[in-house]
């Protein structure tokens, strides 16, 4: 199991993006810890179920997450959840305010607070990406289709890398300490044959208007070897 985190403050459209993306890729699992909290009421039970849910997954899981709240150091959590990329949604302040004002969950639209949360979120995302050496993609796209396209590119890249890693680990290769310098200098048999062939091909010539001699033809062949 490995995860890609879709992060951003409340109201930037993490869930909307993830759900729309899953129409294209229904094979990918998605979840947000907030949904577990909502379902199980207390944090302890939610964490336990969260762990169970992740342990059942075999492939990619998209996780929606806030970085502006909760503990400062999430490195261990991200490592445990095998995070391969962070996708940070960071639209304009006006967009966030507008979305929050329309939200039935009565989220704060205090502009000062929104700006501070966005900065905190970005700061934490940068630190995590650096510590874990994973890509951080920041999207400011207002257009959902473009955001889906960008997320799709990130997922393709991560999935390809995972596929290559698996293939690399399963390789069963024979290794040798082949010394190329020796190869070039010691093939007496080939040199003897070349010497024996040369006078014979010199006698040949193609009967055609181009008057191409076989010797020259062989020299072309050597160019392409």
């Amino acid at each position: 199991m490995y995860t890609i985190k879709i992060v951003g403050i409340s109201g930037v459209g993490k869930t909307t993006l993830a759900k729309l993306f899953l129409h294209k890729r229904p094979d990918i699992a998605r979840m947000s810890f907030g949904e577990f909290l909502y379902e199980y009421n207390d944090e302890e039970s939610a964490r336990e179920e969260w762990g169970k849910f992740l342990s059942r997954q075999e492939n990619l899981v998209l996780i929606e997450e806030h970085l502006e709240i909760g503990e400062d150091n999430l490195t261990d959590v991200y490592m445990r959840e095998n995070t391969k990329a962070i996708f940070l949604i960071e639209p304009s302040l006006e967009t966030v305010v507008r979305r929050r004002e329309r939200d039935i969950r009565q989220r704060s639209s205090d502009e000062q607070q929104i700006v501070e949360d966005m900065q905190k979120s970005r700061r934490r995302a940068v630190i995590l990406a650096k510590k874990l050496n994973i890509p951080l993609v920041i999207t400011k796209d207002e257009d959902i289709e473009r955001s889906i396209e960008r997320l799709s590119q990130v997922i393709d890249r991560v999935e390809r890398k995972e596929y290559l890693l698996k293939r690399q680990q399963s390789l069963n290769l024979e290794l040798t300490d082949l010394n190329l310098s020796k190869l070039w200098n010691s093939h007496w048999l080939m040199n003897s044959l070349r010497q024996a062939i040369t006078p014979l091909v010199e006698q040949k010539s193609l009967v055609n208007p181009a008057s191409v001699s076989i010797r020259k033809t062989l020299s072309i062949r050597r160019c392409s070897i």
Binding site: L171, E174, L183, A196, V212, I214, I225
Partner: protein, 289 residues
């Protein structure tokens, strides 16, 4: 040379060599005279005649940059050279792959590039490039072992260069190709070499492709073909045999004829996959049988 490897080295006499030359000569002659018109042949092999100023095997030109133009120059001669994609439907490619090349092979599945003298219809040097699934599986494994995504690797085949081509065309063409694929997000270029037949190291490593990707046991296969009432043995690649599901009679490189493995060499043009090479590769070469 290839055909002689089907004999036990201890049994190769002057007569065997002479017969092999006669036989392979017949094959070359048959291909050339049946598939190419005399005009085409004259045009393509004009470099062998000593009086053409552009392609001339005696007085070869050299590629240089003059302002922003690539030109072939030498002893008062100067010709503008164009590097461009060769149209895959062009007859010239079939001519190269199926007739003129020493090994019959299928048409390239990727890009084909050529050097042209400005205004010419035919390129005088051609390289084919294939990537991803068109790279043979064992080479894909070797690339992954080296931390390179095969989808981002390009295999170059130096398909053909006409006689008398400018001296440094391989490295100039490779640098064009490198630039082209780097701009297209590719990570590595690779090419196959056969040290057994190389007369110098530069034949193999020109164009900066100087890291060993893998080595593979070299074995040639020949199938019979009757020409002018004589049975000749024509070389067939493994790919050709597989694609044509050939089940007939064959001759292979003799088990006592020691050939050096063929060696695939590569160069990294940029690193994007961020896959680490396998640690055991340090100082070792991947070997396939």
């Amino acid at each position: 040379m290839f055909y002689l490897t089907t004999f036990d080295p201890g049994s190769i006499t002057q007569q065997v060599i002479s017969d092999a030359v006669d036989e392979q000569y017949l094959i070359v002659q048959d291909r050339l005279l049946n598939a190419v018109s005399s005009d085409e042949l004259a045009y393509i092999f004009r470099g062998l005649k000593k009086f053409y100023p552009d392609l001339n095997s005696t007085y070869r030109l050299k590629l240089i940059w003059k302002n922003t133009k690539l030109v072939a120059v030498g002893e008062g001669r100067e010709f503008e050279v164009e590097f461009k994609k060769v149209e895959t439907e062009d007859k010239i490619i079939t001519l190269f792959t199926e007739v003129l090349h020493y090994v019959h092979q299928e048409r390239s599945q990727g890009d084909i590039f050529g050097f042209y003298f400005k205004g010419d219809r035919y390129p005088w040097a051609v390289e084919t490039c294939e990537s991803g699934q068109f790279i043979r599986p064992y080479k894909q494994d070797a690339l992954i072992a080296h931390g390179i995504d095969p989808e981002r690797a390009v295999e170059i085949t130096r398909l053909y260069a006409l006689p008398g081509s400018p001296l440094n065309f391989v490295s100039v063409m490779d640098s064009f190709i490198r630039k082209y694929y780097k701009a297209n997000g590719m990570e590595a270029l690779l090419t196959c070499t056969m040290p057994s037949y190389s007369k110098s190291r530069s034949t193999t490593t020109s164009g900066g492709l100087d890291k060993v990707l893998c080595a593979k046991q070299l074995k040639h296969s020949f199938i019979p073909k009757e020409i002018k009432g004589r049975q000749c043995w024509m070389m067939a690649t493994k790919r050709w045999l597989e694609e044509n599901q050939y089940q007939g009679e064959m001759r292979h490189t003799h088990r006592f004829f020691t050939l050096f493995p063929k060696v695939d060499v590569f160069t990294t043009i940029q690193h994007r996959t961020t896959l680490n090479p396998l640690p055991g590769l340090n100082g070792n070469v991947i070997f396939f049988k």
